[in-house]
Symmetry: C3
Subunit: 351 residues, 3 copies
Amino acid sequence: MPKDAGPQAKTNPGRFFEDYTVGDVIEHAVPRTVSGGERALYHALYPARHALYSSDEFARACGLPESPLDDLAAFHIVFGKSVPDVSLNAVANLGYAEARWLRPVYVGDTIRSSSEVIGLKQNSSGKTGVVYVRTTGRNQHGLAVMEFARWVMVKKRDLDAPAPETVVPDLAPAVAPEKLVLPGGIDFSAYDFVQAGEPHRLSDYQVGEVIDHVDGVTIEEAEHMMATRLWQNTSKTHFDATPRADRKRLIYGGHVMSMARALSFNGLANAQCLVAINGGSHTNPCFAGDTVRAWSEVLDIAETPAPGVGAIRLRLVAVKEGGMAGQLKGEDGKYLPHVLLDLDYWALMPA
Amino acid sequence: MPKDAGPQAKTNPGRFFEDYTVGDVIEHAVPRTVSGGERALYHALYPARHALYSSDEFARACGLPESPLDDLAAFHIVFGKSVPDVSLNAVANLGYAEARWLRPVYVGDTIRSSSEVIGLKQNSSGKTGVVYVRTTGRNQHGLAVMEFARWVMVKKRDLDAPAPETVVPDLAPAVAPEKLVLPGGIDFSAYDFVQAGEPHRLSDYQVGEVIDHVDGVTIEEAEHMMATRLWQNTSKTHFDATPRADRKRLIYGGHVMSMARALSFNGLANAQCLVAINGGSHTNPCFAGDTVRAWSEVLDIAETPAPGVGAIRLRLVAVKEGGMAGQLKGEDGKYLPHVLLDLDYWALMPA
Amino acid sequence: MPKDAGPQAKTNPGRFFEDYTVGDVIEHAVPRTVSGGERALYHALYPARHALYSSDEFARACGLPESPLDDLAAFHIVFGKSVPDVSLNAVANLGYAEARWLRPVYVGDTIRSSSEVIGLKQNSSGKTGVVYVRTTGRNQHGLAVMEFARWVMVKKRDLDAPAPETVVPDLAPAVAPEKLVLPGGIDFSAYDFVQAGEPHRLSDYQVGEVIDHVDGVTIEEAEHMMATRLWQNTSKTHFDATPRADRKRLIYGGHVMSMARALSFNGLANAQCLVAINGGSHTNPCFAGDTVRAWSEVLDIAETPAPGVGAIRLRLVAVKEGGMAGQLKGEDGKYLPHVLLDLDYWALMPA
């Protein structure tokens, strides 16, 4: 490369809409080995208390070899790797679907990630398009640990580039219970409700029930940046205060997701393992100084083949100040301004 | 539970004064496995430099199998588990007594915690009462790692609930030296003063001597919240800025304790292992922006049966700006407004 | 020591200029065992993405037994130990030279550090002098992991103390390529450029080429204090806001160094192992709120005896707002006011 190629010639400019082709598989860079350090940091950054992810003894009593890394930490690692290739030039992160955890991540595992382009649709403006990818995280044995589809709106580099053939993937509105993959060996038949922190089993919850998780956490800049960096997420908007006049940094939506999930312990202490995300929207931006609270709604209940293990489908809603349990959208059908996250997921719970 | 039980029906409201009965044993939830991550975070959050807790090699030269988790970290973990059951509705944390470390906590240990109610005394107002508990932390082998008594003022839920019989436990004003439990195998006969950082042995200290630890640390919100969360302490007041008009979060007293202990390295580098807390008071609140300093007073000196190991009883005082070494109380006998912590403890030091 | 020796009699006042003698070797206190916790914290505090330091699998494919601790983390640990003995009373950290990494630091290693005084020169003012030291870090086997020379300006305690004989060491302007020490077994012949994140090998870079690393990070107080404490650096100026009217804390120069190095991934993803620092200057102070960016200039290129491994000599420049890639000094020959760091180092890259 000639010297006069300019000082940005070797840096990654990210992909633009016309750089994607349906069927392409992108191997994301920078594999990552996790240790007890990642687990401890997760507990320092979020009020995480689900016992299966806190105690090796509790995990063993549930049939696992030891306590896995928190499922959302695994998600963040797999997701973070895809950012430089998928969402560096994204205008918006539009949605998630068909996310499944396929195998727990344990201390010592090395995670890498790849994405297949599964859909493309240029917007009518001709300036942007929607890119659909299916991202898969794998461990050092090449075994998949999780997969998810997401779609993002990406800028075009060249507005005159021709529009690709429109391909919109057929994504399930929810992961069917029979498609949930359970951690190998999981068994809740000797589940210790006292050590887990709450007495409620799956049969104590009813579809439609709303749970206010009560507690709130006021967010600090240092914390969301440490979390986002830990997952090697390179999106500039979370770290660099200079582009905005108010010098605010937009908080990674996954930080709000983990905060809300951790807060949901209070009322859902036995919703231990995340096994699927059916859909999710980051409905309003979150900034440092906001106080995040959460509420959940029970959407569905299902059986699983594992001993004593049921599945609960939950809507997890994160709100900032002004949010009230059960209040999601206004009369106009739009999300209320204090709703930060609307996440639809499946978790495992003692039946 | 019926759907119309309301969105807070499954969350933990905490116990109120009338929910305690003398003799009850409460098993606290969420056991916790510790790793090198907790140790590294302790070193990132506090200027901790005591060599026995920093170096496996130093610890082995002192007869231990490896470097244990900092003793105050063990205390915070055991204490944190008790918060949801003991102090969620506490108006004030009134005191500690008879705290003893009974066995070091090592990487890989899983800690759980339980509390026995050992006293109850309704206040004359009829609105609150004092609850005395003895809390014990145990490792995965069921062996006690530490125990302490504490008493808190707790609200009554129902002001008309009858007052219980008053039981005030007989707590020792200090742990007698012969009741100190030493880490198994500890031996300071080949103690390396150079690697430890200071030349002073127990015989260099005199009862009544005051040590100004000089250094100061200005406290940040992100740090005290990360620390408090790491110990899974759920007290809302440390995390949620919204209840107070000034949006201040009250800092967990244990954060001040660990900060002061770490600062005390400068002058007490050889006060390695904490073995007992005789008493302690969080005398004034600490908020982000305060600059914490510390001073110590030598209260007593004792022998131990271990080779080369003596015990030093210290008053550790944390102060914010305006505090001066040796200044504890005003002429009215009350703590000065800049005194944050008055802690009376025993530590082990080369004799 | 008599009780009336005063409350600061046992604390470390640090050494003053007249306390140093050429040829003295100072053993620094507080050895430190590193774990996965330190590695995870490094990834949380900096946007570190170099694959060799992120993935055990990647490291093994490059001939190492596992992923080492980041080289700058090793530097900070060795450096931090020297602060209480070398720079507690320093007015300025003047420079570095002849720094070489000699052996990677792995999880489980215990690091200690010592410094030899190699030069002394009293300043003409008679109030201060320059102290030159060569600091060496060693692991638990006594094997050197890194060494560096640095020189600091230190206050005299007693202005009437006689000036020592001036000894100015002969320090190399740069570490010669043949003096670089490579990690044992390193082999880039099967280097995975896809997992590493960029396609550029050594032959793609030209001497004189400037690389703008583009991304910026706005610095927070909590983060730089956590980093600096993690390395057990005791310099008061980084932690105590009270001495300055503006309550700013001066950020440890090493924090800026690690931030700039991590940012340099974007354009230098394959500059994996640091092997030498030829020189370095902290040219302007950095404070919380500053947004740090970085650019690099290729200074030299060299061969090494290891398979597929070349060496690249780089100037790494950290800037705050206003800094532009390639702009280092003004017409007066002085560093521009927004230049924070000018670091000259050797790294290993696939040839």
